[in-house]
């Protein structure tokens, strides 16, 4: 059998240039979260699979699973929100709201390609134990700032609200099955199916037009006004007001140019309970930002708590930036210091200089291969190192 001396499907090494950029980006995001008062947590790499499968949040086959020594089913960290919710329900202090953040690797059986991987880094924040449009806006603003902070400037964020569709279904009195068909059609922006189902179920023209509005290819500029004409249900009206207030607050942040309303953004069934949003940029076919309000999730773990949060796909965003022409930082050190073979005085001087330079913030390689001055110059040339210091009997 041949040895598998390569990485598994969906898993990659992060090589020096990219790694330098990524770690720097992580520092920036860490600082950004902390400046907003969000405390970073680390949750275990493995959890009991129950925390993901019991609440029915996702397909079991998407989890990387293994067992512990007692045969209990574990899974690798799939996202940051569910462990944060578990933590908030069980361990967190009583004082609310909680502001939590994380920067971690996630593991999913993804259909890989186009920038998707089975292991990838997400940075995210959760605002827990509080509701209201201002909280929603804070989290969306932080999501936008996260992308901007690492250099994603071509950014579009779509904002939707689960209450819009919920209200629309309730005011038309659709049965559950038809509602699901229309829901799927909206998610696929498939207006044909909506027209067909409306006809079959004898919906009024107004109701048909309302569901067609949800499936608009992209939200019209006057989409909020269009919606006002359609909704009579209190849930939908409340959702609409929530969206208006969020937009208003985002204007205060100066971020209105990045956002637009998309009523067809419904989020996965039974997870989101209010605002939902997704962020996009050029050159990757998948959203780099996802988030929304999830007021029912923490309750699954035994403590009712209203929450809103986002995750930012750092790995995917870096892929996008590189395809958009990002110049990676040069990870090569700035200087190299060498000394004459078997010359203890020269070595002492070399070490002293290297240490001084490092204190001053310059990266220095101390040559330990006993290279000659000539060899050292060649080494520096080959590796794009700018400065060479050489010590022999006399000083240089």
């Amino acid at each position: 059998m041949s040895s598998k001396f390569y990485t598994p499907d969906g898993f990659n090494d992060t090589l020096p240039g990219v790694c330098a950029f990524k770690k720097d980006a992580e520092s920036k995001l860490r600082r950004l979260f902390s400046l907003h008062g969000y405390e970073e947590i680390e949750t275990p790499g493995f959890e009991y699979a129950d925390i993901y499968t019991k609440p029915d949040f996702l397909k079991e086959e998407d989890l990387y699973k293994l067992t512990d020594s007692k045969g209990r089913l574990l899974c690798a960290r799939y996202d940051g929100t569910i462990p944060a919710a578990r933590y908030a329900a069980t361990l967190a202090k009583d004082k609310l709201p909680l502001r939590l953040s994380y920067i971690e690797n996630m593991y999913r059986f993804n259909q890989t390609g186009g920038g998707k991987q089975s292991e990838f880094t997400q940075a995210g924040a959760e605002l827990m134990g509080i509701t209201g449009s201002d909280s929603d806006a804070e989290v969306i603003a932080m999501a936008i700032r996260s992308a901007l902070e690492i250099g994603v400037t071509d950014l579009q964020v779509s904002i939707g609200q689960t209450g819009l569709f919920e209200g629309a279904v309730s005011q038309t009195g659709l049965d559950e099955e038809t509602a699901l068909v229309i829901r799927d059609a909206i998610t696929a922006k498939d207006s044909v199916t909506i027209e067909r189902v409306s006809k079959e179920k004898g919906l009024t023209d107004d109701n048909r037009d309302m569901f067609l509005m949800f499936a608009q290819p992209t939200g019209d500029a006057d989409i909020l006004d269009q919606m006002k004409g359609f909704f009579t249900d209190p849930i939908a009206k409340e959702a609409l007001q929530n969206l208006e207030e969020i937009l208003e607050a985002l204007e205060d942040y100066g971020y209105q140019k990045y956002v637009s309303i998309d009523p067809g953004l419904l989020g996965s069934v039974d997870y989101y309970t209010g605002v939902v949003f997704k962020g996009y940029t050029y050159e990757v076919g998948f959203p780099i930002i996802g988030g929304g309000r999830y007021d029912r999730t923490v309750g699954v773990f035994g403590r009712e708590m209203e929450c809103v949060g986002f995750s930012f796909g750092l790995s995917l965003a870096i892929t996008a930036l590189m395809r958009q022409g990002l110049e990676l930082p040069d990870p090569a050190p700035e200087s190299v210091v060498g000394y004459e073979k078997n010359n203890k005085d020269a070595r002492r001087s070399a070490i002293t200089l290297a240490e001084q330079m490092r204190l001053g913030g310059t990266s220095v390689i101390l040559d330990t291969s006993s290279a000659s001055e000539e060899e050292l110059n060649k080494f520096a040339d080959d590796n794009d190192i700018q400065t060479v210091f050489w010590f022999d009997g006399g000083e240089k």
Binding site: G114, G115, Q156, A188, T218, Y280, G285, F286
Partner: protein, 219 residues
């Protein structure tokens, strides 16, 4: 620049015809050559000629912004896409077919059926999801009708247009799974990031489809 993935063959020709009617210059796409990428800088359109089963993949990953592909391929591939227009051509049905004797409910009496098909995902979804039974799926790559004739499987799942191949081989449609036609699919990110180009194209194509459908009704 918009990148459009077309399913090589008749579907591509029909799609080009429709795009031209909608006012898009497709001279580049009609070029008779073996080129796989046909680009026209003037019109800002780039066409890629792909195997039908690959069109949803190109579009999902954003390598192409939009694509024209049969609903059968979409059902089989289950990609995350926007499916914005039913073009109305390339019509056929996805069916369970087999010996005539299996019609009128007799199919359900066979336990542990073997099903030959080019569409294993559709077959699994139909038998497990709709009929609530597990079947043995035998993946084939063409001339699927052979399978029940020589005893490789009891039935097949395949697209049926006129049904002639089936009839001439003593087979018949037993159950219909879904109606099929050509669809326009759009990448979810492109829809947002390139909406200035994509939205008008969708509107114009829809207009043409409506004209086409109205014409059919008159006949």
């Amino acid at each position: 620049m918009l990148t459009i993935a077309l399913s090589k063959g008749r579907l591509a020709e029909k799609a080009i015809e429709l795009l031209e009617k909608a006012g898009y210059d497709c001279t580049a796409a009609k070029e008779k050559s073996r080129k796989l990428i046909l680009e026209d800088e003037k019109t800002g359109l780039r066409f890629i000629m792909a195997k039908p089963a690959d069109v949803p993949t190109y579009v999902e990953y954003g390598a192409a912004d939009l694509g024209v592909v049969g609903k059968d391929t979409l059902l089989e591939e289950e990609r995350q896409l926007y499916e914005v227009i039913d073009l109305g051509f390339g019509k056929c049905r996805m069916c369970v077919a087999g010996p005539k004797e299996l019609k009128d409910g007799k199919l359900d009496k066979i336990p542990n059926k073997r099903v030959g098909t080019k569409y294993p995902n559709i077959t699994r979804a139909y038998f497990e999801g709709v009929k609530k039974e597990s079947v043995e799926i035998i993946k084939l790559n063409g001339s699927v009708e052979l399978a029940p004739l020589i005893g490789l499987s009891e039935v097949i799942v395949d697209i049926v247009e006129s049904g002639r191949t089936l009839y001439e081989n003593g087979l018949d449609v037993i159950e219909t799974i879904a109606d099929i036609s050509a669809r326009v699919v759009v990448n979810r990110v492109s829809m947002k990031m390139k909406s200035d180009e994509i939205r008008p194209m969708i509107d114009k194509l829809r207009e043409q489809v409506e004209i086409m459908n109205a014409g059919k009704e008159e006949q």
